[in-house]
Symmetry: C2
DNA sequence: TGAGCAAGTTGCGCAATAAGCAACGTGGCT
DNA sequence: AGCCACGTTGCTTATTGCGCAACTTGCTCA
């Protein structure tokens, strides 16, 4: 039997989601390729694909072509209006700041476990970041993640701060006490930094974005190589990020007291 | 046993997708509500939700709260890069045209069966359209749908033109021959119209948007009430829509011969 | 033109999984 | 403190999901 994932109770649902993720990663795949990768019989793959296709999450390209994700996914995604609003409204603000700062600027939200980038624009420099949109990044090792953690309600944060903290570089914070102190500092200063904590040579700084209900639902951050975004400059651009975040907060319905 | 949908071979996958769609429609739901709507036992609903949650398609709000779609969906959606590019690049063009025309402007793509709106901006008028983003609309009765059908390759279009065409109003085209003639006219004139064919009192006009490979992957349309967008004015704004579509086409990589 | 091959589909039977039941834990409310 | 509703989980079993084999279809090549 094919390996099932930890904590999942429904094998066929798990397999179906794996198919969606494979297609997200690869663009399009045939039944045989899906079957091989899932380690199931072709007929099993065929039926799972048919089930997803009947609900418009997948489509076949032509009558005999490979399968790809369809707009059922986008329709589901579009439904999470608030979150997509963050993405949609954040995009032009990222664009403007990326142009003025010359670095990569993104907006990230938390899914309760990690940070996920929902909007990104790159600066004009040749050396720039990869595309993080849709990517999951650790909360404790990124500047946006620290913002999201710092403003997270205690009930949601508590289990996250109990988990083992993965070390990515020599500078990654992996002690719980150190992370708590860092989050207190973030709250105190109103912004977070990550200096080579996720990746050697990569600096980032982030500020909170407030939602209509007054909570911090997302973070706005700038990222660059350490030689172009030294610590001093990282601190200096906080004001620009704060301006952008304030604008985005207002667009999201935030009314400052 | 709960009713299974026509054409679906895997009941638990079907149920899981139904949960996603319920949450897309309602925002958040508890296990008991999901169980009632799916007509299954609470433990069944609980396990299906747990399976989706373990793959980050759902998240629970707090430790005892309701469930909502999570960014796993957005991450899957983000992966269909080209399609989301249509949405992202189309949004500001919709915004500009909506402002200048004073009507609702959208961009729609086809999922092979229907038209799906991926970007929309509303004009300033108090009477405006509902939000169509993510919504599925019929190809034969909408202006955007007619554009997508007219430029569709014959293999993909043939089965669609064999199906029974649903009548929405007295003006809906439901004869296959009439629809073929209409599509020929759309190709000839380079734009499509829908005058009260989807909804009484609603007029729309659409033009093709070309992709990098030269095909028509999306359509740009304007929609308004018939008293504000009479037939004469609908024809008049085609030039504006063409300009916007040309710009979007170039941004999508289209190079006119 | 026909054979061979690969991809995908489908009927069938069966074993494994999905599901229901009952009991339990937990938090909110009175 | 007790009640209620929600959600979870162990257990059992009935149903579904799955693998197998056979089939269809389209493409390639001799």
């Amino acid at each position: 039997m094919s390996p099932t994932r930890e904590g999942s109770a429904v094998q066929s649902v798990d397999r179906a989601v794996s198919i969606l993720e494979m297609l997200a990663a690869r663009g399009d795949l045939g039944i045989t390729e899906i079957a091989e990768e899932l380690e199931v019989h072709k007929s099993t793959a065929s039926r799972l694909v048919a089930a997803l296709q009947s609900r418009h999450l997948l489509e076949q390209q032509g009558e005999r072509g490979k399968y790809a994700l369809s707009y059922g996914i986008v329709r589901l995604a579009a439904a999470t209006t608030a979150r997509l609003d963050v993405a949609r409204l954040g995009q032009p603000i990222c664009g403007r700041l990326a142009e003025s700062l010359g670095e990569t600027v993104n907006v990230a939200v938390s899914d309760g476990e990690v940070a996920i980038t929902v909007a990104q624009e790159d600066g004009a420099a040749a050396i720039t970041s990869q595309n993080w949109v849709g990517r999951r990044t650790p909360l404790h090792a990124t500047s946006a993640g620290k913002v999201l953690l710092a403003w997270m309600d205690e009930d949601s944060r508590r289990p996250l701060l109990r988990r083992a903290l993965h070390r990515y570089t020599d500078d990654t914070i992996v002690e719980h006490a150190a992370l708590r102190a860092e989050l207190a500092r973030v709250l105190d200063e109103g912004h977070a930094r990550s200096f080579e904590e996720l990746e050697v040579g990569m600096h980032a700084v982030a500020v909170p974005v407030f939602s209509g209900d007054g909570t911090v639902g997302s973070a706005l951050s700038a990222t660059g190589p350490s030689y172009r975004l030294p610590r001093r400059r990282a601190r200096a651009i906080v004001a620009d990020l704060r301006e952008g975040a304030a604008e985005l907060s207002v667009e999201l319905g935030y009314r400052a007291g």
